[in-house]
């Protein structure tokens, strides 16, 4: 923590050694253990383990402080004779003091530290410890939760029969009913029918495009007429486990962003403007004949359409962040996503 400053403990130690006082103190170690227990307790069991840790820390901290200030509290009268004894002992044990510090009245062994140096080191060291004790939990509270417990939500969009083949819908749904309106999201959904893989297994195929612009996250809008008058399909509202789901029928010729003018084709590929990649898509599954949205993933580009499309998938990245090309090296480490 304080590289240049000699740490107070070692100073203390050497002082003690020279003075033939009891061996180096263990109080700081106990104090540190107490703090560790407090922090561990915050994760496991704040009430019990943290209180135990706090008691340990307080007791050892008190003893440490007592120890560290012993010299201050102790009268010089007591210390002085001890020093003199120490010097004699020191002379006998170590090599004779080669250089004398001009100012010091009694010749002090080289290894000894003056009182002011010791107090300086102790003040800065203890200050650093206090600063650390305050900063670590505060920074932890501020920083960590942003990167932890990213839950994956499943969104029930209703039975597959709601989605006629090859028809587009603008779906607005609630991702997390616990959070409510804050987690409303919009996606463009098209039923591509079934796709048969090389082994002959048929599975349903959907194109589900997020409406968050790949430039800076504005809500893109479908370029095309909406409603039954143009599309021939009614717009509907249904209620599922996730609450209200609005489905508005639409004939999109693409998507446009109202902020900075990005334009996309119906598959979500960028055709003009600043977006750095195609629109994100939702992964999905079919459960009991119902369409379930999973989390989003990023897409560099889409070749082809519908069930035959080849999607260049990437892990979810924030808007404006390249997922391919040389620019991707600007964003080497993504924070955890669900």
């Amino acid at each position: 923590m304080e590289p240049e400053q000699p740490s107070p403990d070692t100073e203390h130690e050497s002082l003690h050694e020279e003075q033939h006082l009891p061996p180096p103190t263990l109080w700081p170690i106990g104090f540190a253990i107490g703090i560790v227990v407090v922090l561990v307790g915050l994760v496991i069991n704040p009430e019990l383990i943290s209180s135990i840790g706090a008691v340990i820390a307080i007791v050892f901290g008190f003893l440490w402080a007592r120890d560290a200030t012993a010299e201050l509290r102790g009268q010089p009268l007591v210390v002085e004779p001890e020093r003199r004894e120490m010097r004699e002992a020191g002379e006998g044990m170590t090599a004779p003091p080669a250089d004398q510090q001009g100012v010091a009245l009694p010749p002090v062994p080289e290894t000894a530290v003056t009182r002011s140096r010791f107090l300086e080191g102790a003040t800065l060291g203890l200050g650093g410890v206090i600063g650390g004790l305050i900063t670590v939990p505060v920074a932890g509270f501020a920083l960590l939760p942003s990167f932890l417990s990213q839950k994956q939500h499943k969104v029930d969009l209703g039975p597959l029969s709601t989605f006629p083949l090859n028809k587009w819908y603008i779906a607005t749904f609630t991702v997390d009913p616990m959070q409510g309106e804050v987690s409303r999201r919009t996606a463009f959904i098209r039923n591509n029918g079934t796709v048969t893989d090389s082994k002959g297994n048929a599975s349903p195929s959907f194109t589900i495009i997020s409406n968050r612009c790949a430039h800076l996250g504005c809500p893109v809008q479908a370029n095309g007429p909406t409603g039954q008058k143009f599309t021939g399909n009614p717009s509907i509202t249904e209620h599922t486990d996730n609450g209200r789901v609005d489905l508005e029928s639409v004939l999109p010729a693409g998507y446009g962003c109202p902020c900075h003018g990005g334009q996309y084709d119906p598959e979500g590929n960028r055709i003009a403007g600043p977006p750095v990649r195609a629109l994100d898509r939702y992964a999905f599954e079919v459960d009991n004949g119902r369409l379930i949205l999973l989390s989003t993933y990023s897409v560099a580009k889409v070749v082809g359409t519908g069930a035959q499309a080849k999607i260049y998938k990437y892990k979810q990245a924030g808007p404006g962040q390249h997922v391919d090309g040389p620019e991707q090296w600007f964003y080497p480490l993504q924070p955890p996503h669900h």
């Binding site: 939760p145 996250g217 924030g318 808007p319 480490l333």
Partner: protein
């Protein structure tokens, strides 16, 4: 005065009044030296040719104080919650803003002053900066104060950004989406910064409370400290004369030898009657 006579009753009363006023001031001065400090601040000399443009800094300070005071009152009524009120289906924060503007007595005035004071504050900071630039007042020895001023401007804009989210309406939400994603495109640390600002992956209740804390505690604290430093340096280094002034303080001595009007030498600036005595020893007690 030379003739000693018994003071009249009126004079005695006046004397007592003065003592009554002076006593607490002297008491404070003796124990803190604050009165001397204030006196130094008020009666320090500034160049005789300062002009109207040099009031922009103090005007910006006034705008900041308006923000601070109205902000404290707003914090008493504002609820930083993005949750939906089950009774109305509207977000709690949004409802509290409507309540401040409509329900709370004079709330419209306090919120209106805060809302528009923000813009006025930013404009005044820009104008003040323009004046300092025009006067070349960022030059030696005032470089540090320029930097502090720029930091105050940046902090002021951050106040604008964080405060913009609080009403939790459409403009607020989407401006914040863009603002945070903008930070997210910074190379390397951007994605982490964005996630920190959001308090998670998506903008939500966490973001609102986070911005609220930044807006009313962290950034204002920083601004106040920086303003304190800014003013300290202004007082320490003094205010510049307009550079085109015929009588600018600190002008080249070569030019001084040329015939030049120096009204200050022949025509001393009048001092206020009460101030002359106080002025005698700025910073000290009489």
């Amino acid at each position: 005065m030379a003739v000693r006579r018994k003071p009249t009753k009126a004079e005695l009363r006046r004397q007592r009044m003065e003592e009554l006023v002076n006593f607490p001031l002297d008491w404070l001065e003796e124990r803190s030296g604050l009165i001397g400090g204030v006196r130094y601040f008020l009666f320090r000399n500034v160049p005789a040719d300062v002009n109207w443009m040099q009031t922009l800094g103090s005007a910006a300070l006034t705008a900041f104080l308006v923000q601070a005071i109205t902000g404290v009152i707003l914090a008493m009524y504002y609820v930083p919650s993005a949750a939906t009120d089950p009774a109305t289906g509207k977000p709690v924060a949004w409802e509290s803003i409507v309540n401040i503007s409509d329900g709370v007595f004079m709330g419209w005035l306090v919120r209106g002053m805060h809302r528009w004071g923000a813009s006025v504050f930013i404009i005044l900071m820009f104008l003040h900066m323009g004046r300092v630039f025009l006067f070349g007042a960022y030059k030696y020895p005032r470089e540090l104060n320029w930097i502090i001023g720029v930091l105050i401007l940046v902090m002021g804009m951050m106040e604008g950004f964080t405060g913009y989210l609080l009403p939790w309406d459409q403009t607020a939400y989407w401006a914040t989406v863009v603002g945070i994603n903008l930070n997210g495109t910074a190379p390397f640390l951007g994605p982490w910064l964005a996630q920190f600002l959001r308090g998670g992956q998506e903008i939500g209740g966490e973001t609102l409370t986070r911005f609220y804390s930044l807006h009313m505690l962290v950034i204002p604290g920083a601004i106040m400290a920086l303003i304190g430093l800014h003013l300290y340096l202004v007082i320490r280094l003094g205010v510049t004369s307009p550079p085109w002034s015929k009588d600018a303080a600190g002008m080249e001595p070569e030019q001084e030898e040329e015939p030049r009007l120096r009204p200050g030498l022949t025509r001393p600036v009048p001092r206020p009657a009460g101030a002359s005595a106080l002025q005698a020893e700025p910073g000290g007690r009489e």
